[in-house]
Amino acid sequence: MTMEKMILACLTTNPRKAPAGLAVFYCDSKEEMEQMGAVLEAVLDGIAHAIHEEITIIVRH
């Protein structure tokens, strides 16, 4: 099964703003979020979009 056009994961440095209903990765710093985002982008074949300073989502287009 191939999933298309969906949010695959969310990375955040602020647990209060973490969304529900998808895989959320809590990061301690922006640097960690960058690092984790790069790995998840490659693994999930998605694109990291920064929707806020504290939230990045990985989206499959």
Binding site: A38, E41, D45, I47, H49, A50, I57
Partner: protein
């Protein structure tokens, strides 16, 4: 030996020559060397035989023999299906896909080339039967010229002005000029894009052109052509480095964002300019206007919806 043997052989030869001339393997590498070519030359030969043989059949008043041409037509429709299926399967493995509109255009071209071969065979066989060899050779040259003219469509440079613009970021948003392309969340990717990315603005010359380049298939064809010719800085698992084309909703300009391996601005503009305008993407809204208001020389150049320089 039948009196028609030489005219038929001449017609077949001319049809085959026409097919060979139309069978170009260019930068898109299609048809591939050698098996793809064999298929198309064989089908071209069949088309040439059908065209050449139909003339003596008609002269001998064997009218029903012409029904063979309808069999040929259904065979060539199959050619179109074959091309469409093959190209669609191959498209899934391309780093930048051709897109369905481009594939349909290529499949259509393959079918129509066989009809042009039949046309060439018929005309040259008729010329050989009723005139002499020299006039027949002239007819062959004329048919080939007509075929080339019919096969050459328009190009993007005929309908748009192309300008290089360096990509830039506003926050996480990637822009070409003032056209938003996409959001890039990772700083490392933004660095890659600024280092390897190139941006181009297509400014339509008239309202018809604006509608044509708005077509998603046409935009994908441009991205495919430029990525094929200049290489692409991406691999599977890096969708953030996918080339994109986005439209300015206000004035219809299209921004092209690519990451070529060979970063030559002049060459890139040339390639974009030489991208064919796809038959299925061409729209002529000004024709409707003309039709409704009577004949007019205006083909959309003075349309207020077109982009105009602020200074002018």
């Amino acid at each position: 030996m039948s009196i028609y043997i030489y005219p038929v052989l001449f017609g077949i030869t001319c049809g085959l020559i026409a097919r060979l001339i139309m069978l170009r393997t260019d930068y898109r590498q299609y048809p591939t060397y050698l098996h793809g070519k064999i298929i198309h030359i064989s089908l071209g030969f069949i088309a040439a035989v059908l065209g050449a043989v139909s003339v003596p059949a008609l002269i001998e008043e064997n009218i029903t023999a012409v029904t063979f041409l309808t069999v040929a037509a259904s065979q060539f429709r199959e050619v179109r299906n074959m091309e469409r299926n093959t190209l669609k399967q191959m498209d899934g493995f391309e780093l930048v896909s051709r897109g369905d509109t481009y594939i349909e255009g290529i499949a259509l071209a393959f079918e129509s080339r066989n009809y042009l071969v039949i046309f060439t065979s018929i005309v040259t066989t008729i010329a050989f039967i009723f005139t002499n060899l020299y006039i027949s050779l002239g007819a062959m040259v004329l048919c080939i010229v007509i075929a080339r003219v019919l096969m050459d469509g328009g190009k993007i440079k005929d309908i748009c002005e192309i300008e290089y613009v360096k990509p830039h970021f506003e926050g996480s948003g990637l822009y070409i000029d003032n056209i938003y392309i996409m959001n890039i969340g990772l700083a490392k990717r933004r660095e890659d894009i600024l280092r390897y990315g190139m941006g181009f603005i297509l400014k339509p010359k008239n309202f018809n052109a604006m509608t044509t380049i708005a077509n998603l298939g046409q935009r994908q064809a441009i991205l495919y052509d430029i990525s094929t010719s200049l290489g692409i800085f991406r691999d599977s698992g890096t969708p953030a480095l996918t080339p994109l084309a986005k439209r300015d909703l206000k004035d219809g300009r299209v921004a092209i964002f690519v990451l070529p391996q060979h970063r030559d601005i002049k060459r890139a503009i040339e390639i974009i300019g030489n991208t064919p305008t796809l038959e299925n993407a061409i729209r002529l809204p000004s024709e409707r206007k003309k039709h409704e208001e009577g004949d007019s020389d205006d083909n959309g150049e003075n349309d207020p919806r077109l982009p105009h320089d602020e200074s002018s």
